[in-house]
């Protein structure tokens, strides 16, 4: 056991437990906080994989932004659905079965591929060059410029669409009493 392996097991275990709590926690707010812990664990795993830029982006985007969005949404949709009553639907055992079978199948498949046991080659370039390469790749006409610009359009479309879906019709009386 090297230190890196211990760290991997630690972060992996935290991530796994937190994600289990996300799907089982009876209180939705708690589920949101467990989700944040799971996302932080994934960020730590990215650091172990030497994808430092992605690790920081994971924290900025997921913990700093999407988690806040989810918490706001939880707060906005609470009036009726209190944390009482069953949190899972009637056929939850089917879901459990499906996911267990899926997991078993995936592990079996992984066990049959021998090449995966190898260890990675050390990174050829330093992180700075890697980041520069990523920046070039995103705007290079021969590489990812189309997804890059499409991402911009996608973000704009989802921003406008989501706002017009979420906004109450103007002049509706339900706005009174909100804070």
């Amino acid at each position: 056991m090297t230190l890196v392996q211990i760290l991997f097991l630690l972060f992996g275990l935290v991530t796994l437990l937190a994600s289990l709590m996300v799907v089982t926690s009876p209180k939705l707010v708690h589920a949101a906080f467990w989700l944040i812990l799971a996302l932080a664990g994934v960020a730590a795993l990215f650091i172990l994989l030497e994808a430092t830029f992605l690790a920081v982006v994971q924290v900025v985007v997921y913990i700093g932004a999407i988690a806040i969005l989810i918490i706001f949404a939880v707060m906005l949709t609470r009036r009726v659905m209190h944390d009482t009553g069953p949190q899972v639907n009637r056929s939850w055992w089917v879901a459990l079965l499906v996911s267990l079978v899926l997991f078993g199948g995936l592990v079996l498949m992984l066990a049959q591929v021998p090449a995966l046991a190898g260890t990675p080659a050390p990174l050829m370039v330093d992180q700075e060059t890697l980041l520069e390469d990523l920046g070039r790749a995103l705007v290079d006409a021969d590489r990812y410029v189309l997804p890059f610009e499409l991402a911009s359009v996608l973000l704009m479309a989802s921003m406008i669409g989501a706002i017009f879906v979420a906004r109450p019709p103007s002049g509706s009386e339900e706005r009174s009493g909100e804070r």
């Binding site: 707010v29 982006v57 913990i63 700093g64 932004a65 806040i68 918490i71 330093d126 992180q127 700075e128």
Partner: protein, 400 residues
């Protein structure tokens, strides 16, 4: 081993390393112990600075500006007042209100401190005196700052109090809103330096501080970071007159103290970041040979920025929340986007035209600022005309 007085920090590190290696420890373990020591010193220094010195200085400054005396009973000039306060807070009964989420309630102040201290890991105090020069330093600052937002959310939600909740919601709305111009303004030094590492950004300012190359971005970063830290006039998070005291009403004792310390630390952190990213950090004559001198330069610049923040803080009234958010979304964010575009194009055009880089950047920034002021004047004129034509609309129409 001779002690090098020109570069005491490296010498102390080497001395300690030699000592530990002499005890027969493994080199890897020695590095780890040294790092742990560094972390302890850094965190302890930051907490002392914020908790003891800054709280005192802040009250004294406030008192001077508002023409009163401030703390003056405990010790000379009241310098021991923060210690007295700490003793008071630590012996106070610790109340966790009924119905609170106890775990989250306790975790929130700790996370607030963690986010404020964590930023200092990438701040270069002097040449070769930096916690760790991450190559994603700038984004790391944003990421750790995001944990602070989260801690406020947790504190407000765990308190089981309407006002704490409302305060937390407002604070988070404000903090996330002002994060946008801050992050976009940070793109400008990244672009000019060609790296996200904070150490690299300081090095890149040898040719000229970025406040000269990008004054608009500097101002944007300064204002939005101030709002992010919740300093007046953006101190809606503790608007006593509107929402009891914001997200931390239910906090008492040391838990409240930790939130308080984190807030002060955040204030000095933005001063340090402005000094580092835009005012050249430790750069100054002779700093390369004598790192101590670099530390002094850094401290002077940080203190100057902090003083400006304090002056603004104690002389401005609080902004209303709708004005605050409109100011962000309708002025700061578009301006930040424009600043990035202008810098991107100007820096590519300058070599193509064969002009001086600094002159081109300065001209572009002045043009941008002028255009902004013209747009603002036109906007204000439009509102004035609407109000004068329709006197009845004064109450509603003059809002923004």
């Amino acid at each position: 081993m001779d002690f090098n007085f020109q570069d005491p920090f490296t010498s102390i590190g080497e001395l300690l390393r030699g000592l530990l290696l002499g005890w027969g420890l493994a080199p890897g373990l020695v590095s780890l112990i040294l790092m742990l020591l560094g972390a302890l010193v850094l965190a302890g220094f930051a907490m002392t600075l914020a908790g003891v010195f800054l709280t005192w200085l802040d009250r004294k400054l406030a008192a001077r500006i508002q023409d009163r005396l401030g703390p003056n009973r405990v010790g000379p000039f009241g310098i021991f007042q923060p210690i007295a306060d700490a003793i008071k807070l630590i012996t106070k009964e610790d109340i966790i209100p009924e119905g609170a989420e106890r775990a989250i309630f306790k975790l929130a102040p700790m996370l607030a401190v963690m986010s404020a201290v964590g930023i200092w890991a990438v701040v270069p105090f002097a040449p070769r005196l930096i916690g760790t020069d991450l190559n994603v330093g700038v984004l790391y600052i944003v990421a750790v700052g995001a944990i602070g937002t989260l801690s406020i959310m947790m504190g407000g939600m765990a308190s089981n109090n309407k006002y704490a909740m409302l305060g937390a919601f407002r604070t988070v709305a404000q903090m996330v809103a002002y994060e946008i111009p801050m992050v976009i303004a940070l793109l400008v030094p990244t672009m000019l330096a060609g790296t996200m590492g904070v150490g690299g950004i300081v090095e890149a300012q040898r040719g000229g501080w970025f406040i000269v190359l990008a004054p608009v971005a500097t101002l944007l970063f300064f204002v939005s970071a101030m709002a992010e830290a919740g300093r007046a006039p953006f101190d809606l998070l503790e608007a006593e007159s509107e929402i009891v005291a914001g997200y931390n009403v239910e906090y008492s004792g040391m838990k409240f103290g930790m939130f308080y310390v984190a807030e002060f630390l955040h204030g000095v952190t933005i001063a340090a970041l402005t000094a580092t990213l835009f005012l050249g950090g430790w750069l100054g004559p002779g700093a390369q040979q004598f790192p101590l001198l670099g530390l002094v330069y850094f401290a002077i610049k940080t203190a100057f920025v902090y003083l400006v923040i304090s002056l603004i803080r104690f002389s401005m009234p609080r902004i209303r929340i709708d004005h605050l958010l409109a100011f962000n979304w309708k002025l700061l964010t578009p301006l930040a986007l424009a600043a990035v575009i202008v810098t991107a194009i100007a820096d590519k055009l300058a070599p193509a035209l064969g002009w001086n880089r600094a002159v081109v950047h300065l001209t572009a920034n002045i043009l941008l600022a002028w255009a902004t002021f013209e747009a603002l004047r036109a906007y204000a004129r439009g509102i004035r005309q609407r109000v004068e034509v329709q006197p009845a609309a004064v109450e509603t129409g003059g809002a923004d």
